[in-house]
Symmetry: C3
Subunit: 457 residues, 3 copies
C-alpha cells in the first residue's frame, strides 16, 4: 500500500514547487524588475551616444559563451553516468533556468536596486548565469542522490546565500574575484560537499553498479568538458572592466588551461594502471586551470604565472581524484559524485590563494594607470597591496564559512520527506524521474516496478 501515496507525492512535489516558485518570481519581476538604461528605448540617450557604444556589444559574446558553459557544459559534463544522462542534462536545465530568475532578483536587490527597482541588462544576465554555475557545482556533489524537487529547494537557498556572500566580498570587503574562484567555485563546492555530508547514505553501495560510465556516456561528457575548456576565458573575463582588463584575463585563462591539460595527462598516466589514462581526470582535472585563475586572471599574473598556476591546479586536481576522493567518502562520509572537491573545491581555494599572492605584489609600476580599474582602493591610496591581500584572504574564509553553514542548513531542508528523494537502491537511475526508452531498437525497458521504488526506509 506504499505505492499510491508515494506516486502521489512524486506527482505533486515537483510541479507544485515549479509553479509556486515561478509564480513568486513573476510577481517580484512585475513589481521590481525594469530594463536598465542600455535596454530601455525611453532611457537610452539617443542624442549623445552611438548605438555602437551600447554595453551589449562588449559583453554579449562573452555572455553567450558563459551561457553555453552553464547549460551545455555543466549539463553534459555530468552526463558521464551510464543511466543518468536525462537527469544530468535535464535537471541542469531546470535548476539553471530557475536560478537565472531567482538570482536576477537576489543579486538585483543587493547590487542594482535603485529608486525601488532592479535594473537588468547584459551584466545582470552574466551575473545570474554565474550564480547558476555555483548551483550546478553543488549539484555535482549530490548528483544521482537527489530528486528534482530537492534540487529546486537547494537552488532556492543557495542562490540567496550566493548573493549575500558575493555582496559581502565584492561590496563590503572590496575583494576582487572576477572569475569567481571564491564566490563561484569555492562557494559552490563547499556548499555542495557539506550538503552531501548531511545527506550521507551509508547504503549507497546498493547503487554502486550504476555509478560508473559506459563508453558513449564518457563521450557525451567530453562534449561538456571541451565546451567548458574553450569558453573558460570568456567566463573569467565576462565581468571584468572593458579593454585591456578583459584582454589580459582571457590570455591568462587560456594559458592556465593549456598547462592544466598537460599536467592532467602527465599525472593521469603516471598514476594509472599500466600507465593508462583515466577519462575522469581528463574530463575534470584538465579544467582546473580555469578555476585556479578565477581570482587572479585580471591581475598582472603574467603568462608564466598563468602556466604555473594551471600546472599546479591540474596536478592537485588529478591527485585529488586518484587519492583523496576515496578518503573523502570513507573517512569524512562525503559522497562526492562528480568530484567537485577536486575540480572546484581545492582549485578554488588555491585560486583564492593565488589571488592573495598576486594582489599582495601589486605595484603602481606594474599596473600604471590601469591600477585604478583593477585595484581601485589601492590606486586611491585607501589600501596597501598587503592590506588588499589580507582582505582577499579574509574573503576566502568568509566564503568557506557561509558555504558550509548554508550547505548544512540546506542538507537538513532536503531531508524533508515529501521531497521524493530516490531510494538507496535507485540512485544514479533516470527511470525514477523520467520515462526512459530502451537502449536499442528491439527493446523497450519498462518503468521500475513499484516495489523497486518503494524500498526506501
Amino acid at each position: 500500500m506504499a505505492g499510491p501515496p508515494r506516486r502521489a507525492r512524486r506527482r505533486l512535489a515537483l510541479p507544485l514547487l515549479c509553479l509556486l516558485l515561478q509564480a513568486a518570481t513573476a510577481v517580484l519581476f512585475a513589481v521590481f524588475v525594469r530594463y536598465d538604461r542600455e535596454a530601455d528605448p525611453a532611457l537610452w540617450p539617443r542624442g549623445n551616444h552611438s548605438s555602437a557604444h551600447n554595453e551589449f556589444y562588449f559583453r554579449y559574446p562573452s555572455f553567450q559563451d558563459v551561457h553555453t558553459m552553464v547549460f551545455l557544459g555543466f549539463g553534459f559534463l555530468m552526463a558521464f553516468l551510464q543511466r543518468y544522462g536525462f537527469s544530468s542534462v535535464g535537471f541542469t536545465f531546470l535548476l539553471a533556468a530557475f536560478a537565472l530568475q531567482w538570482s536576477t532578483l537576489t543579486q538585483g536587490f543587493l547590487h542594482a536596486f535603485h529608486g525601488g527597482h532592479i535594473h537588468v541588462g547584459v551584466e545582470s544576465m552574466i551575473n545570474a548565469d554565474f550564480c547558476a554555475g555555483a548551483v550546478l557545482i553543488s549539484f555535482g556533489a549530490v548528483l544521482g542522490k537527489t530528486g528534482p524537487a530537492q534540487l529546486l529547494l537547494m537552488a532556492l537557498l543557495e542562490v540567496a546565500l550566493f548573493g549575500i556572500n558575493e555582496f559581502v566580498l565584492l561590496s563590503l570587503l572590496g575583494v576582487k574575484d572576477a572569475g569567481g574562484s571564491m564566490t563561484i567555485h569555492t562557494f559552490g563546492a563547499y556548499f555542495g560537499l557539506v550538503l552531501s555530508r548531511v545527506l550521507y547514505r551509508p547504503e549507497l553501495e546498493k547503487s554502486k553498479h550504476r555509478q560508473g560510465s559506459i563508453y558513449h556516456s564518457d563521450l557525451f561528457a567530453m562534449i561538456g568538458t571541451i565546451f567548458l575548456w574553450i569558453f573558460w576565458p570568456s567566463f573569467n573575463s565576462a565581468p571584468t572592466p572593458l579593454g585591456d582588463g578583459q584582454h589580459r584575463t582571457v590570455l591568462n585563462t587560456y594559458y592556465s588551461l593549456t598547462a592544466s591539460t598537460l599536467s592532467t595527462f602527465a599525472l593521469s598516466a603516471l598514476v594509472g594502471r599500466d600507465g593508462r589514462l583515466d577519462m575522469v581526470h581528463v574530463q575534470n582535472a584538465a579544467l582546473a586551470g580555469g578555476v585556479v585563475v578565477g581570482t587572479a586572471s585580471e591581475m598582472m599574473l603574467t603568462p608564466f604565472g598563468a602556466l604555473a598556476a594551471g600546472f599546479l591546479a591540474g596536478t592537485v586536481s588529478t591527485m585529488g581524484y586518484k587519492f583523496f576522493t576515496p578518503i573523502l567518502e570513507s573517512k569524512f562520509k562525503v559522497q562526492d559524485t562528480c568530484g567537485v572537491h577536486n575540480l572546484h573545491g581545492m582549485p578554488g581555494v588555491l585560486g583564492a590563494l593565488v589571488g592573495v599572492l598576486v594582489a599582495g605584489l601589486a605595484t603602481h609600476e606594474a599596473y600604471g594607470d590601469g591600477l585604478q580599474s583593477v585595484f581601485p582602493l589601492i590606486a586611491a591610496g585607501q589600501r596597501s597591496a598587503t592590506s588588499q591581500a589580507m582582505y582577499q584572504l579574509f574573503g576566502m574564509f568568509v566564503t568557506l564559512t557561509l558555504a558550509s553553514v548554508g550547505g548544512a542548513v540546506g542538507g537538513c531542508i532536503l531531508k524533508l520527506p515529501f521531497l521524493d528523494a530516490p531510494p538507496d537502491s535507485q540512485c544514479y537511475e533516470d527511470r525514477v524521474y523520467w520515462e526512459v526508452p530502451g537502449e536499442h531498437e528491439d527493446e523497450a525497458q519498462g518503468p521500475l516496478k513499484e516495489e523497486e521504488l518503494d524500498t526506501q526506509a
Copy 2:
C-alpha cells in the same frame, strides 16, 4: 522486376536535383549577386569611417549563434528518432545549405535589389539563415516520411513563398516581426503541417516500431535543444535595430525561455505516468518561450511580460504534445513527426497575438525617442497603436493563408512518383538513403533487401 528501375530512380533523383539547383543558383549569383558596401573594398568609405563601425562587428556574433541553431540545433533536435539520426542531421545540412543560396536570391530580389544587383552582407546572411529555419520547421512535420529529393523540392517552393510572405508583412503591411513568430514559426509550421496532411499515410503503422527514441538518441537530441535554447536570444535579436533594441530583445527572450522551461517541467510531471518527466516535452516545449516572444521581444514587453508569455507558451506546448498531437493524427490526418504544431504552430500564433497586444499598447511615453526605431509608422503619426495592432493581426492571417496554400501545393508536388519517397514500412529508417554501419563492433548491419524497399504500392 521492380528493383532495378527503383534503384535507378533513387540513384539519379537526388544527385540530378542537387546539380541542377546548384547550377541554377550559381548562374543567378553570377548575374545578380554582389558584395554590399560594407564588404566591398572599393565601396567602403575608407576616409570617413573607421573599420570598427562596419556592420559586421554588430551582427556577426549573433549571426553565428543563429547559424549554430539552424545547422546544429535543428539537426540534432530531430535526431531523437532511434534509426534516423543520419537523415535528421544530414538532410538538415543539405536542405539548409541549399536554402541559404536560394533565399539569398529570393530575399535579395524582394528586399535588396538595387541597380540590377542583389547586395549581400551580414544582414543577408542572417535573413537567409532565418529562411532556412522555416524550411527546417516544415521538415520536422514530415520527418522520416520523405526522401531528400522530395525535401529539396519542398525547400525550392517554401523559400520562394517565405520571401513573398515576409515581403508582404514587413514591406507592404509594415508589420513588426523581428524574431519571426509569424514569418518563421507560424509560416514554417503550417506549411509543413498542411504538406504532411496531403502526404497522409494511412499505413504508417507499419513503421511505428521505429518512431520512438532510444536512450542515446534522446541525449543527442538534447544537444540540439540546449543550443537552440541558449542561442534563441540571439535569434530574436539578430535583425533588430542596433543598440537598446537588440539589448531589450535579448533580455525578453532570455526571461521568456526560463519561464517556458519551468512550466514545461511542471506540466510534464503533472500529466506524466506516475509523475515522470517526458523527454519529448523537455526537448521541445521548453523552447516555446523563444517562439512566443518572436514578435514582441523588441517591444516594451517588460521582463514580467516575458515571463508570463514564456510560461503560457511552455504550458500550451506541453499540453499540445500530450493531448493534441494524437487528435491531430486521428481526427485531422496530420502526422506531425516532431510535433511542430506544438513547438512552432501554436506558440507562433500565440506569439503573433502577444505582438498584437503589445503593439496595441505602445505609447510615446513608454518608448520615448526609441519609438522611431520600433514602430516608425506610429512615430511618424501615420498609424495609431491600435491600427498597428490590427495590421499585426492581419499579418498573421496572411501568413496562415500563404503557408496553407503553399503546403497544399507542395504536398501535391512531392507526390510525384520519381522523387523516391520511402515505402510505408521503411519510414524513420536511415538505411533507405544511407550506408549504415552496425550498432556495435561485432555487427555489420547489411543494407535493406530489395524486397523490403519495393513494398510500396
Copy 3:
C-alpha cells in the same frame, strides 16, 4: 618477459614527455613572453583610446569560433572510429593544448619579437590556434596508429616547421594566405601524409575490423563536422584586416561551403551503392569548401567565384574518398585514416591555385582603396598582379617541400622504440592507452591482456 619493460615504457614515456615539454615552455614563457600593449594595464594608452577600440572586441568572437573548431570540431570529427573516440577527442585535447603553448613561442620569435620579448594578445592566440589546427590535420593521417608520446614529438617538430613555413610565405615572399589553404591545410596534410608513409604498416589488416564506424560514432563525428562547417567563415576571416576584409572573407567562405555541401551530397549519392549516401563524404567532403577559399576568400573572389570554388572542392574531395584513398594505400603505401588528403591536401592545393588565379586578376579598379590592405605590395607599385600570382604559386611549392621534408624527418623520429606505438593488431583501439568502461551497463570490458599488447615485433 616482454611485459614489464613494455608496461614501464608506456607508464613513463607520456608523462615524462608532458612534464619535460611543459617545463621547457614555462621557462621560455618566463623569460620571453609578455602581454602586448592591448592587454597590459601599464601600456594601454588610456588617455587617447576608448577601451571600446581594444583589438580584443574585433577579434575575440572569431577567436572563440576558431578555438571551438580546433578543440571540438577536429576532436569529434575524428571520433567516427568505433573504438577510438577517447583517443580522438583526448589526444586532440592534449596535442592542441601543447601546440598552443609551443606555437606561441615559435610564432612569437618569428613574428612578434620586439625588444627581447614576445608580445601576446588576441592575435597571437588566433595564430597559435591555427598552428594547432595544422597539427591536428596531420594527426588525422596517422589516427589510430600512433601513441600520445609519438604525437607530442610530432607536434614539437611540426609546430616549429609550421612557424618557419609561415614566416617564409607571409613575411619573406609576401604571399597572402589568411585562411591558410597553404600554411595550414596543405602543410598539415602533406606533413601528415609523408609521415604516415614513413610509418607504413604492412600488417595493418590485423586491425581492419576496428577501422570503420558504428552508428553512434558517426553521429558524434557529425557534431565535429557541423561545428567546423558553421564556424569556418570565422576561421578564414579571423586574421584578415578589420572591416570590409573580414566581412568579405566571411561571405565568400559561407557561400563556398554551401556549394561544397551540395556537390558532396550529389556526388556521394551518384557513386554510392544503390544511390545511398556515405557518411564519410558528408562528414568530410562537405567541408572542402572552407579549405578551398582559405587563400582567396579575402580577395575579390565574388560570390559566384565562391560557389564555383566550393562546388569544385566538394566534387574533388568526394571523388578522392571514393577512388583515390584506396589507391593511396595500395600503390603509394600511405595509410590515411581520416582521408586528410581528400579534405585538406587536394582542396588545399586547389585553394592555393584559386589564390594564384584571383591574385593574378587583381586590379586597382576592383579593389579601390582597399587594395592597400589586401595586396599592399601591388598597391605600393612594388609588384604587378601577375608577379603576386607567381609568388603565390611559389609559396605553394615551398609549403609542399617543407611539409614533405618535415613529415619524412618526423616519421623517422616517431619510429624511436621507446615511444610506445600500438602494435599492428591493436590499432584504432582506445584500450591501449585508456581505461575503458564497457559499452553497456551489465558489461565491464577488462583491459587488454599483456599478450595482446606485446605482439609487436
